[in-house]
């Protein structure tokens, strides 16, 4: 890991949240907003279906950075900032990609994004890790 340099790719992470993932994430996180767990409610407010929690998608980005660059060391990730844009949907593959932006000693800054097909659900994500 010591020889990371700007422009290096973060190992890609692909994960497909199943139909009930938003329910399990609601239980794990305590966020039971009905737009995430009630398809009928979500459709009644104009959404295509119940949608993924943004913070779940951010969790997947955090995992991609920690696992891809620091063997999953939970102390490596020092900062993560994201913008939530397109809505994430269950039963569609999430593809997280990233590029090393800066290396300063053991501090590595990476740019990341998460997409489902052409829909960028997290963009302008920046992670700082100590590895």
């Amino acid at each position: 890991m010591a020889d990371l340099k700007p422009g290096d790719a973060v190992p890609e992470l692909r994960v497909t949240p199943d139909k009930y993932l938003p329910h399990r994430y609601a239980g794990a996180s305590g966020d039971f907003n009905p737009i995430h767990v009630d398809r009928e409610f979500a459709e009644s407010v104009g959404l295509p279906s119940n949608i993924l929690h943004g913070l779940y998608s951010m969790g997947v980005v955090a995992k991609a950075a920690s696992q891809g660059l620091a063997h999953g060391d939970p102390t490596a990730l020092k900062k993560l900032t994201v913008q939530f844009r397109g809505m994430g949907l269950p039963e569609q593959e999430i593809d997280v990609t990233g590029t090393v932006k800066e290396v300063d000693g053991n501090r590595v800054t990476v740019d990341l994004e998460a997409r489902q097909g052409d829909n960028r659900i997290i963009r302008n994500a920046v992670a700082e890790l100590e590895i």
């Binding site: 239980g27 794990a28 996180s29 305590g30 969790g59 696992q67 939970p74 900032t81 913008q83 939530f84």
Partner: protein
């Protein structure tokens, strides 16, 4: 109509969350995180942690109770019908381990109108029982058409 900004600078009462092994396991399982330090106390101690350690984004779990009263405060007055979670930052310091009691305080740092939308920014600060900062969260909610 001018955006109501009375709540800028306001803090809400702290909440304390006791981190537990089973909750860490539940969170890590949902995210598909497989490192044994999140599941097995011996693996965690071998890696130098005092107990099973939480993945960084577990910050959501212990921050939420402190943030909720801020989000729903009528003085803040967010219109939930048109609100989306626009952005999020976490900055981590000390790891959170099972047995830790983490106290989180939320405050409203800014309320601004940009291009007809309201940007409501809250900050949560979480400290452990030893008084060390664990994480600082910045939560940006966007209300369309204010």
């Amino acid at each position: 109509m001018a955006l109501k900004t009375d709540a800028v600078g306001k803090s809400w009462p702290s909440t304390t969350y006791q981190v537990g092994r089973e909750k860490i396991k539940e969170y890590a399982t949902v995210l598909g995180i497989e490192n044994p330090v999140h599941f097995d106390v011996d693996a965690a101690r071998d890696a130098g942690f005092r107990d099973v350690v939480a993945p960084p984004m577990f910050a959501v779990v212990y921050s939420l109770a402190a943030l909720a009263p801020a989000m729903f405060d009528p003085e803040v007055g967010m219109n939930f019908a048109t609100m989306v979670h626009g952005g999020q930052t976490f900055e981590w310091s000390e790891p959170a381990c099972s047995g830790d009691e983490i106290t989180t305080t939320a405050k409203c740092v800014s309320i601004e109108e940009k291009l007809g939308n309201g940007f409501y920014v809250f900050e949560t600060t979480s400290v452990n029982g030893a008084g060390a900062e664990v994480v600082r969260g910045t939560w940006t909610n966007i209300v369309r058409g204010v």
